[in-house]
Amino acid sequence: MTIATGTIKAGEPVFYVVDEHDHPEGSSTQLGFWIYLMSDCLIFAILFAVYGVLGAKYAAGPAPKDLFDLSLVAVNTSFLLLSSLTYGFAMLSMQQNRVGAMQGWLVVTGLFGLAFLGIELTEFAHMIHEGATPQRSAFLSSFFTLVGTHGLHVTFGLIWLVTLMVQVKRFGLIEANRRRLVCLSMFWHFLDVIWIGVFTFVYLMGMLR
């Protein structure tokens, strides 16, 4: 710092970093995690593009109208939306240092996530049972890839959620755990944003065709 001040005249603007500043532990985690989410967003963008190109190529097989049950998708969507809200409540409880309430909201979030996954897997099983497997047509390949990738993200989110609940139980709401919970919160809300695209472009638009 002394070197820098020695070479710069007072009042002159500085256009470069004058000295290496200190990075407190975890100070850049949120930005880094956000950039990860953005890269994840690109993966989904490509999968959406693939679905956009192949989504109408049925190869004389079943079309969205024959396969999708919109009321089931509506229930699924509301589960994911509710889980976003309950995770938000968990974050509020964390802010107020109420560990019990936070763990409670995390359990509720996890249950909603599980319900979402359960319904999605039931839907997949039903489709595969009817012969609408990923191999059947380009539409079904792209459908299973896009929706399956989202489902896989939710699965890993749930594993992460349970891991963090155990962490908080063992070590309490230490700074590192708060940071991890903030990251998972971003991840979870991000999955909800992706799901908006899925239910709009895959399910609703599919039914319109």
């Binding site: 710092m1 500043h21 200190d22 990075h23 407190p24 975890g26 100070s27 949120q30 930005l31 956000w34 950039i35 953005m38 967003c41 690109l42 963008a45 490509i46 959406f48 593009a49 693939v50 956009g52 190109v53 190529k57 049925y58 004389a60 919109l70 009321s71 998708v73 509506a74 969507t77 509301s78 939306l81 976003s84 809200l85 938000g88 409540f89 974050m91 509020l92 964390m94 802010q95 708060r178 940071r179 903030v182 919160s185 971003m186 809300h189 991000f190 909800d192 944003v193 908006i196 695209g197 239910f199 709009t200 472009f201 609703l204 638009m205 039914m207 319109l208």
Partner: protein
């Protein structure tokens, strides 16, 4: 030294900011419910023209994404010195190029394809 203190205060503030307020969460949730329910009702009832319905549900999806970004992900131009917003804008540009480019190119490829095997292939 003052910059260190400032950076630390910033990091701390952004961690706290991430929870938002209960009111904000509920407003975001309420808006999301409305923005989700209307497209579902429109498609399930089929009361409107298909083209119009498609445009409406896409508009609702775009608005809902913004609602989630603001109320749940707490996006703003000041967090992390504006870098999260920068990353977001960059990503949106990439997504638009990837999506519109793929759809455009592949659409033209399909329509301009020589109908060689038309006998065997029904769409």
């Amino acid at each position: 030294m003052s910059s260190d203190v400032h950076a630390h205060a910033d990091a701390h503030q952004s961690a706290d900011d991430h929870a938002g307020t209960r009111q904000g969460q509920l407003i975001g949730f309420g808006l999301s419910v409305v923005l989700t329910a209307i497209p579902f009702l429109l498609v399930m009832s089929g009361s409107l023209d298909k083209q119009v319905t498609a445009l409406i549900i896409m508009a609702f999806a775009a608005v809902q994404v913004v609602v989630h970004m603001v109320f749940f992900l707490h996006m703003n131009t000041k967090a992390e010195g504006g870098w999260t917003m920068m990353a977001l804008i960059f990503t949106i540009i990439m997504v638009v190029i990837a999506l519109s480019g793929s759809l455009w190119v592949m659409h033209h490829l399909t329509t301009n394809m020589m109908p060689v095997h038309e006998m065997g292939q029904t769409p």
